[in-house]
C-alpha cells in the first residue's frame, strides 16, 4: 500500500519537476541554458543515481548549485541575455569551478559514509574491548570458564 503511495508521489513529483523545468526554459531561457551547462554533471548524476533519495546526486547538485549562485547572479544583474548566458557558460573558469564543486559533492557523497563507518566501527570495537576486559577480570576473580567471545 505504502509502496503504491510512494510511487504515486514520485510520479507527481516528476510531473511537477518537469512542469517547473518547462516553465523555467520557456520563461527564463538564458537561466535554463546557463544552469543546464553548469549543472550538467549533477543532472547526469541525477538521472543515473537510481538509489532512493539519490544520495550521490543530491550532494553533487547542492555543491553545483553553490558554485552556480555567483554566475547566475551576474546573469541576472547584466540583463539576463542569452549572449551573457552563453558567454558565462563558455568561461572555462566559471565552468571549471561549477563542475569541480559537483565533483567535490560526488567525492563527499562517497567519502562521508566511509568515514562514518570507520567511526562507528571504532566505537564498537572500543566497547567490545572494554567488555572483554571486564569479562577477563571476572574470569580471573571468580574462576569462570573462559568464553570465546565472537569478534565483532
Amino acid at each position: 500500500m505504502s509502496g503504491q503511495v510512494k510511487a504515486r508521489g514520485r510520479g507527481s513529483g516528476l510531473w511537477l519537476g518537469g512542469l517547473a523545468c518547462g516553465a523555467v526554459i520557456t520563461l527564463a531561457t538564458p537561466t535554463a541554458v546557463l544552469a543546464g551547462l553548469l549543472l550538467a554533471p549533477a543532472g547526469l548524476a541525477w538521472v543515473l543515481d537510481r538509489a532512493p533519495d539519490r544520495p550521490t546526486a543530491r550532494p553533487m547538485l547542492l555543491c553545483g548549485l553553490a558554485a552556480t549562485v555567483q554566475p547566475m547572479a551576474t546573469l541576472w544583474l547584466t540583463g539576463h541575455g542569452m549572449e551573457t548566458a552563453l558567454a558565462t557558460a563558455a568561461d572555462l573558469a566559471t565552468l571549471a569551478v561549477a563542475w569541480a564543486a559537483q565533483a567535490a559533492g560526488w567525492l563527499l557523497s562517497e567519502l562521508a559514509p566511509f568515514v562514518a563507518g570507520l567511526a562507528i566501527e571504532a566505537r564498537a570495537r572500543a566497547r567490545g574491548a572494554k567488555l572483554r576486559a571486564e569479562r577477563r577480570r571476572l574470569e580471573e576473580e571468580w574462576g569462570l570458564p573462559a568464553a570465546e567471545p565472537p569478534t565483532p
Binding site: 559533492g105 562521508a112 559514509p113 563507518g117 576473580e141
Partner: protein
C-alpha cells in the same frame, strides 16, 4: 589419679639418646640401669626413687601396651595398705631404649620371692610357718582389698615376697589386667579356662583359691603340675575337683587338709572369707559341702574330650561349640543325658534349648549354634564363664580381652573376632539370661546391650576401637598417627600430635578412627556429638574442617598451650578447603589469615578462618552476581559481533546525511556571499 603425677605423653627421644634415668611426672625417678629381676610380678621392674619425699626402695613396673594397668586398684589403694605392694603412682615415662612406656610405681619387694621362677622344689613349710608367715598376713591383705571392693588376682609363689621378719607380702598386681599371668594351677578351673586377659576382676574368693594352691604347694615343697599343659590342668581340676586333683598323690599336714579343701572349693561362695582365714583355727572348722558330680555309666565322646559328667560335657561344648552344637542337634547329647547320665530333668532342659535353636536359625546357622552352645554350657555348669565360639571370658574381663587381642581383631577365627561376635550378638546378655534372670533385664544384659550399641554405632565413634577404649580406662591410643608416643588420657593427645607434627610424622589428617574412638571414650558423653561427624568416606575438605573443629575444642577444653606445628600441619591440609571460596581476592585474604592463625598455634583461630559462614555466603552471593554480569557481557559481545551489517547501514545513512548537509552548507554560504556582494 591418686598420688600419681600428672603425666603428659611420653615423647619419643632418639634411640641414641636413650636415657638411663627416666622421670614419671617429675616425681618418680626410674633408674633404668637397675632392673629388679622377678619383682614386677612377671613384668619388667626398675629401681625408683620418690623425688618429692626422698623415699628410696621403690620400683617402677613397666606395663605392656596391650595390657593396661588396673585403674580401679591404682585409684583406690593407698601406700599405707598393709601386706601389699600398694601403688604409689603411675604415669608415662621413657622406658628402655627410649621407647615410651607406662609405669606403675610401688614399693620394691622387701625380700626375695617365695619361690623364684624356675625352682623345681623347696623345703616344705611346716604348718606353723604356713599359718604364721603365709596365711595370716595374706588373709589380712586380702581382707583389706575386699574392704576396698578390689581383688589381687596375682597370688602365686613367684609374686609373693617375704619381709625380713618372715611375713609374706602380696606382690604387684596392678600393672596388668587381673590374673593375666596366673598359671592355670593357681586359678579356679572356671577362671583358668578363660583367655588370660579376659579373666576379669573376679572376686576375693578367687584370691583365696590361689592362696590355697600356694599353701598346698609350700606344704608339699613342689610346684603343682609343673610342666603339665594348662589344658590338662583344667581338665583334671574339672574332672576330679581342685582339691582332689591337687593332693591326689600327696599327704598334707592334718591341720591343713580341711583348710585347703575349703579354700579350693569349686563354688566361690563355699570358700572362706579372708577375715575368716586370718584365724585359721576358725577357718579349719568350716566344712565344705562339696557336691560330687554325678558320673555317667558310659562316657560321651566329644571332639578332643571324653565327658563322664555334666561339667565335663559343658567344658567340651565350651571348647568346640560348633561341633558340639551339631551333636546336640542330632540328639546325641540329650540322649546321653537321659540314658547315660540318667538326668531326665537336664535332658528335658537341653531339649528345650534345642527347640529354641530351631526357632532362631536354619540348620547350619553358626550364630544360632554358638548361642545354643553358650546356653547349654550355662545350663550344664552354672559355675562356668560365658563361652562363645571356643573362647571363654568373664564379663568384667571383656575390656582387657579386647585390648589384648586387638591386633587379631580382623583375623578370621581369631580370638579378637570371636569377642567382637560375642558383643555383636549380645552374648553376655544371653548368658545372663541363661543363668536365670530371663524375666528381668539384669545389669549384665543392659551392659551387653550398651556394648553392642557402641560396637554398631556409625562412624569412627563406634566399633571395636570405641569398645576397647571404653572398657579400658588406661589403654593407650593405638593410632599410628601418634608416631609411637604414649597417649592414655585425652589431655595427652594434643601434645603428642604436636610432637608428631614437629617430627614431620603426621599425616594429612591427624585424626584417624583410633584417635576418634579414643577421644569419644575418654571425653564426656556430651562431647561425642563433635566427633560424630568424623567417618570414612568424607570429602577431604569437609573432613579436615571437622578435624580442626574437634581439635580446637579439645585445645580449649584441656587448656593446651599454642600448638604451632600441629596448626601448621592442619593449615597445610586445610588449604584445599579454601578453594571453596570462588572469589580470588577473598581466597587470598583467607589464605593469609590461615597462615597467621597457624603461626599463632591457636586452633580456634584456625577454625574461625576455615569455618566462616558469613564469608561463604557473601562469596556465593558475589559469585551469583559475577555470573549474571558475565552473562550480560557475553550477550553484549554477541550483539556486537552480530551487528556489523547494521552498523554499516547506519554508517552509510550517516555519511549520506553528512554529504547532503555539506552541500546545503556550501549552498547557503554561496548564496549569502552572492547576496552580500
Amino acid at each position: 589419679m591418686s598420688g600419681s603425677p600428672s603425666g603428659r605423653a611420653a615423647a619419643l627421644p632418639a634411640a641414641s639418646a636413650a636415657p638411663v634415668e627416666s622421670v614419671i611426672g617429675g616425681r618418680f625417678a626410674v633408674d633404668l640401669a637397675r632392673p629388679l629381676a622377678g619383682a614386677g610380678g612377671g613384668l619388667p621392674a626398675y629401681a625408683a626413687l620418690d623425688r618429692l619425699s626422698g623415699r628410696d626402695g621403690l620400683m617402677a613396673v613397666l606395663t605392656r601396651p596391650e595390657a593396661p594397668p588396673r585403674a580401679a586398684a591404682l585409684t583406690a589403694l593407698t601406700p599405707t595398705d598393709p601386706g601389699l605392694l600398694a601403688p604409689l603412682g603411675h604415669g608415662p615415662a621413657p622406658g628402655p631404649g627410649g621407647r615410651p612406656g607406662w609405669f606403675v610405681v610401688c614399693p620394691a619387694p622387701p625380700g626375695p620371692p617365695l619361690w623364684p621362677d624356675g625352682t623345681a622344689g623347696i623345703r616344705p613349710w611346716t604348718e606353723a610357718e604356713l599359718l604364721a608367715w603365709l596365711l595370716r598376713p595374706a588373709a589380712l591383705a586380702l581382707e583389706h582389698l575386699r574392704a576396698h571392693g578390689l581383688t589381687h588376682r596375682a597370688i602365686r609363689p613367684g609374686n609373693l615376697f617375704r619381709t625380713p621378719a618372715g611375713a609374706v607380702v602380696l606382690g604387684c598386681a596392678w600393672a596388668a589386667p587381673p590374673a593375666l599371668m596366673q598359671p592355670a594351677a593357681f586359678e579356679p578351673p572356671y577362671v583358668a579356662m578363660c583367655l588370660p586377659a579376659g579373666r576379669g576382676e573376679g572376686s576375693i574368693a578367687d584370691d583365696v583359691y590361689a592362696l590355697g594352691v600356694v599353701m598346698v604347694a609350700l606344704a608339699l615343697g613342689r610346684m603343682p603340675w609343673a610342666g603339665l599343659a594348662e589344658e590338662e590342668v583344667i581338665r583334671r581340676k574339672l574332672e576330679f575337683g581342685s582339691f582332689a586333683a591337687l593332693t591326689q598323690d600327696a599327704r598334707l599336714p592334718p591341720g591343713l587338709t580341711d583348710l585347703a579343701r575349703a579354700m579350693l572349693a569349686e563354688e566361690p561362695q563355699q570358700r572362706p572369707a579372708p577375715a575368716l582365714l586370718a584365724d585359721p583355727a576358725v577357718a579349719r572348722t568350716r566344712r565344705v559341702a562339696a557336691r560330687q558330680a554325678h558320673r555317667a555309666q558310659r562316657p560321651l565322646e566329644l571332639p578332643g574330650l571324653v565327658a563322664w559328667d555334666a561339667r565335663m560335657l559343658a567344658y567340651g561344648i565350651a571348647r568346640e561349640p560348633l561341633a558340639a552344637a551339631r551333636l546336640m542337634r542330632k540328639g546325641v547329647v540329650d540322649h546321653w543325658l537321659r540314658r547315660g547320665l540318667e538326668d531326665a530333668t537336664l535332658a528335658a532342659r537341653v531339649e528345650e534349648l534345642l527347640r529354641r535353636r530351631v526357632a532362631e536359625g536354619a540348620g547350619e546357622d553358626a550364630q544360632a549354634d554358638r548361642l545354643l552352645a553358650m546356653r547349654s554350657v550355662a545350663l550344664l555348669d552354672p559355675l562356668a564363664p560365658p563361652c562363645w565360639g571356643g573362647v571363654a571370658i568373664w564379663p568384667d574381663g571383656l575390656g582387657a580381652a579386647l585390648a589384648g587381642h586387638a591386633t587379631e581383631a580382623d583375623a578370621e577365627g581369631g580370638a579378637g573376632q570371636t569377642l567382637t561376635g560375642l558383643v555383636a550378638a549380645e552374648g553376655l546378655g544371653a548368658w545372663a539370661a541363661a543363668q536365670g534372670d530371663a524375666d528381668e533385664p539384669g545389669p549384665l544384659r543392659q551392659q551387653a546391650r550398651a556394648q553392642r550399641a557402641l560396637l554398631v554405632r556409625r562412624g569412627w565413634v563406634g566399633g571395636r576401637a570405641r569398645l576397647r577404649y571404653e572398657l579400658n580406662a588406661l589403654l593407650a591410643c593405638r593410632s599410628p598417627a601418634l608416631g609411637g608416643q604414649l597417649v592414655v588420657r585425652a589431655a595427652d593427645l594434643l601434645p603428642a600430635l604436636e610432637a608428631a607434627a614437629q617430627a614431620k610424622q603426621l599425616g594429612p589428617a591427624p585424626l584417624d578412627a583410633e584417635i576418634v574412638a579414643f577421644l569419644a571414650a575418654r571425653q564426656d558423653a556430651r562431647q561425642e556429638g563433635e566427633l560424630a561427624g568424623l567417618a570414612d568416606g568424607m570429602a577431604p575438605e569437609r573432613g579436615i574442617l571437622e578435624q580442626v573443629r574437634v581439635l580446637a575444642k579439645l585445645q580449649a577444653r584441656t587448656h593446651a598451650g599454642p600448638l604451632p606445628h600441629l596448626a601448621a600441619a592442619l593449615a597445610g591440609a586445610a588449604r584445599p578447603a579454601l578453594e571453596a571460596f570462588r572469589g580470588r581476592t577473598r581466597r587470598i585474604a583467607k589464605q593469609k589469615a590461615l597462615e597467621e592463625a597457624a603461626g599463632s598455634g591457636d586452633l580456634g583461630a584456625l577454625l574461625a578462618v576455615l569455618d566462616d559462614r558469613a564469608a561463604r555466603e557473601a562469596d556465593a552471593a558475589e559469585l551469583r552476581d559475577a555470573l549474571a554480569v558475565a552473562g550480560r557481557i557475553d550477550g553484549q559481545l554477541a550483539a556486537l559481533a552480530a551487528g556489523g551489517a547494521q552498523r554499516a547501514t547506519a554508517a552509510r545513512a550517516l555519511g549520506q546525511e553528512v554529504a547532503a548537509a555539506g552541500g546545503i552548507a556550501a549552498l547557503a554560504v554561496a548564496t549569502m556571499a552572492a547576496l552580500l556582494a
